[in-house]
Symmetry: C5
Subunit: 90 residues, 5 copies
């Protein structure tokens, strides 16, 4: 899974029928120290995440589309948690 | 998922039976600012996308072949939306 | 999916039972202009492809093993089309 | 699969229903000689692993969520063993 | 799929129940000319492969765990053949 920060949203009118009513978020991946890592990702939201929140993402098709209660559908990444805290051992 | 621009089409006569009647698109991945990112991708079309349009792609076999209503078939990427707008937070 | 050129074949006597009677091809990935991209891939053949032909490959386990009509089996890449033509927009 | 060392834990209150009661670990990937390789990973725990232990991780959605006895759920990596020993041939 | 050479074995006592009785191999990926490519991989054995043998690996969870006759289980890579010969076209 991947840690990131929600930075925006993507809007499509003409889209796959299973994507109706889904919110598609843009997420900037983060390192453990909060610095940015690589390019923004595009994921469905399954936990009512909002811009600026630090979140947990799950990848892989089967795992990701299960997050929004759908039968097999073209979704490969999902926001699945709002992160409260990262506990690192010294 | 991945943001890209449709740049062409791939034509095969001799192909897997599940690929009959599918349109196979070439898609250039894009960064959030519209600049190009990496090499062109090859994906089935599930939303009647056309050359020049900015689209959303879903990866992963199970997720991708579900986009065209097929039982398990050798498809690993699909165009699943025409992107109207990317809303980035300041 | 990936564009490549068939460059050889891999031969194993002692192998997983589901691999009996499968042809395992070596495929050099190609860029859209026909130049080589990265290292050779290893894939099952589902379309009677031959050495020197330009082909389309599908990746991902579930998608790939479905190409040869097998129940779940350890196959993660398949040649699924002989490419006639790539149409790129100007 | 991947070899790593558990370095911490990730805590979320607002999360996907399937993630309730799961422990989410931070794992530093390791080379065979014990040196660090790349960035920390985020994985569910299926074997009561603790901080400082060297562990085996399995990736891929379907494989990973099966480790915690769940139906399809948004999990893409799991800690599945505590490594006792790596036997390398001379 | 990936070509590699078996270089060792990984031993765990405390592990996922589905991993009981499985042999976990360390495999060095190889280029077509036999030179080493990248870092060692960790895979279950499904063909009684031994140290020093050149083998074929299948990746992807669903494909990999099917190699050892298991229901869904946290396995993402499997050794599925002993390679006799690589035939490259001139």
């Amino acid at each position: 899974m991947i840690i990131g920060r929600v930075i925006g949203e993507l809007v499509s009118t003409q889209k796959h029928s299973t994507h109706e009513n889904l919110k598609i978020l843009l997420v900037q991946p983060l390192n453990l120290d909060g610095s940015e890592r690589g390019d923004a990702l595009v994921a469905v939201d399954s936990v009512q995440a909002g811009v600026g929140q630090t979140v947990l993402l799950a990848t892989d098709g089967y795992a990701a589309f299960s997050s929004v209660g759908l039968p097999p559908s073209p979704i490969d990444m999902a926001v699945v948690g709002i992160i409260d805290r990262i506990d690192l051992s010294a």
